[in-house]
């Protein structure tokens, strides 16, 4: 069921006012945020003003848009008019406020949605965990002793906690997919360059994308379409005879057998037993890592020259090292990117969809931040992205499918299609949701409007 349609229908019909809805979610944030630290700023004045405007439009018989009065939150790297875009860093705390909303936010507001909060992230989006040295660690709403993932952890956790109907994040090497998986919500890394990036503070322009987190697949499509400027609220029935393959090899190593079992169940649904071991996955992952290091380092170099001590030390040292990476290494990484894109494109002549896990297991514990790689416990901070980084190079759209299990923490799967085939991902997501295989884990909030 679409929460966005439910909210906007109730507001349009006058059952609730936009003011009621916004106040409800502002109260939820106030009650819940101290336990999960997903929200960094509450935009109360702007939100209530926008709600008043929506209510006035409705009262005068005008159409407020398909997202009428629906509140949302944004990762702290999207420009919001009149607000400082911190990118999760104290380096920017005295920056000039943004003169206008980021392009995707403009589109959502024109459709009637109301931004009510900015959301926690790893500093400058350079992480997979959301451990922010100023705002704190964003905790997983399903188990607050565990991480929410990152770098869009605040965005995923807020939707999973039921304190926002949807949120926006960004994905360079996994920063939508990983928190979506660990928090058990729907997310999508759209086709590279399919979303306008004006007003989004970058990390690595070769890989940066922006996308939403939602409680269900219908809402994900609605928000994605509005952001892309292609709004069409219907999800078509799934085409028959889809050719689907599971990514094996690298993408099976150290993965919890329960996750692999769900992938197997989905493969049975598609009547497919095809498994592909991608070539040069390790090299693709490294290429993605080096491109991010070099592009991020170059971007930050002018600021590092002036304010090196204002950065979180870990972020700073990685950016400085990246700025020193030789051009020959960067160019070799770009060559691998080009090769990998062509290679994946060849596979998509044979297949419609490729399926892989998002992470190897459930969310790591905050006091034991490790994942398993080649049978050894290694840092989750640098290694939890081993199944997402290489796929970022492809430029393809990747859906993060939430799998909920009673009494256990959720996990997520990646389903990838060829560029600009997001509609296929939404169709597959809808089918998996309808069959009960995919389902978001959303905490039920006790308060009601």
């Amino acid at each position: 069921m679409s929460l966005i349609k439910e909210i906007s229908t109730n507001i349009r019909s006058g059952h609730y006012s936009a003011h009621d809805i916004v106040t409800h979610y502002l109260n939820l944030i106030q009650k819940t945020n101290s336990s999960i630290k997903s929200v960094t700023r509450i935009l109360e004045e702007r939100a209530l003003k926008a709600a008043h405007h929506i209510d006035s439009l409705i009262a005068s018989g005008k159409d407020p848009g398909p997202l009428a009065g629906v509140p949302f939150g944004v990762k702290d790297l999207f420009d919001l008019e009149g607000e400082i875009t911190t990118s999760g860093s104290q380096v920017f705390k005295n920056k000039k406020p943004a003169s206008k909303d980021a392009a995707v936010i403009q589109r959502l507001c024109e459709a009637g949605a109301i931004p009510i909060a900015t959301l926690n992230m790893d500093e400058f989006a350079y992480g997979f965990i959301t451990d922010n040295s100023y705002y704190g660690i964003t905790r997983n709403p399903h188990d607050t002793s565990r991480f929410a993932g990152g770098s869009s952890g605040g965005s995923a956790a807020s939707v999973a906690a039921g304190i926002l109907p949807f949120s926006l994040g960004s994905d360079t090497n996994g920063s939508i997919r990983i928190p979506a998986a660990l928090c058990g919500v729907w997310g999508i890394r759209p086709t590279y360059n399919s979303m306008p990036m004006q007003g989004v503070y970058p990390l690595s322009e070769s890989c940066d994308t922006v996308g939403p987190f939602c409680q269900n697949i219908t809402d994900l499509k609605i928000v994605c379409d509005v952001m892309a400027g292609t709004f069409n609220s219907s999800v078509n029935a799934l085409s028959s005879n889809l050719k689907v393959a599971q990514l094996g090899g690298w993408f099976e190593r150290d993965v919890n057998p329960e996750i692999l079992k769900v992938i197997q169940d989905i493969m049975v649904l598609f009547q497919s037993d095809k498994k592909i071991e991608l070539q040069y996955v390790e090299q693709a992952r490294i290429a993605s890592y080096l491109m991010t290091a070099s592009e991020g380092g170059a971007l930050h170099l002018p600021i590092l020259r002036k304010y090196p001590l204002k950065y979180d030390p870990d972020t700073r040292d990685r950016l400085i090292a990246g700025a020193m990476l030789p051009t020959s290494s960067y160019l070799q990484a770009k060559k691998i990117e080009q090769w990998f894109k062509i290679y994946i494109n060849t596979l998509f002549k044979e297949y419609d969809l490729l399926i892989a896990p998002t992470t190897g297991d459930i969310a790591p514990k905050i006091d034991d931040p490790v994942v398993t790689v080649e049978g050894k416990s290694v840092s989750a901070y640098t290694n939890i992205g081993i199944y997402t980084q290489s796929l970022s190079l492809t430029g393809c759209p990747i859906l993060s499918v939430p799998i909920t299990r009673d009494g256990n923490l959720p996990f997520g799967l990646q389903i990838m299609a060829k560029p600009f085939q997001e509609h296929l991902l939404f169709e597959v997501g809808a089918m998996l949701e309808q069959k009960g295989i995919a389902k978001a884990s959303i905490l039920q909030q006790k308060t009601t409007i």
């Binding site: 090196p308 700073r316 400085i320 290494s329 691998i336 090769w339």
Partner: protein, 57 residues
């Protein structure tokens, strides 16, 4: 073993006109070693020759 001496990092930092704070030195040294190890892996990667003759489909 870390291949990046203080002197070498100092020369690199001059090339990019960046004065590295003293407290950043160890972290930068650690990350540079990481980047070097990764760079070696991809420099050795011969993309003209696929690992297998046929795509592994």
């Amino acid at each position: 073993m870390n291949n990046f001496s203080a002197e070498f990092i100092d020369k690199l930092s001059k090339m990019i006109d960046l004065k590295i704070p003293q407290e950043a030195f160890k972290g930068v040294q650690h990350n540079l070693q990481f980047l070097e190890d990764y760079s070696k892996i991809i420099q050795e990667c011969d993309l003209n020759q696929p690992k297998t003759e046929e795509p592994n489909i």
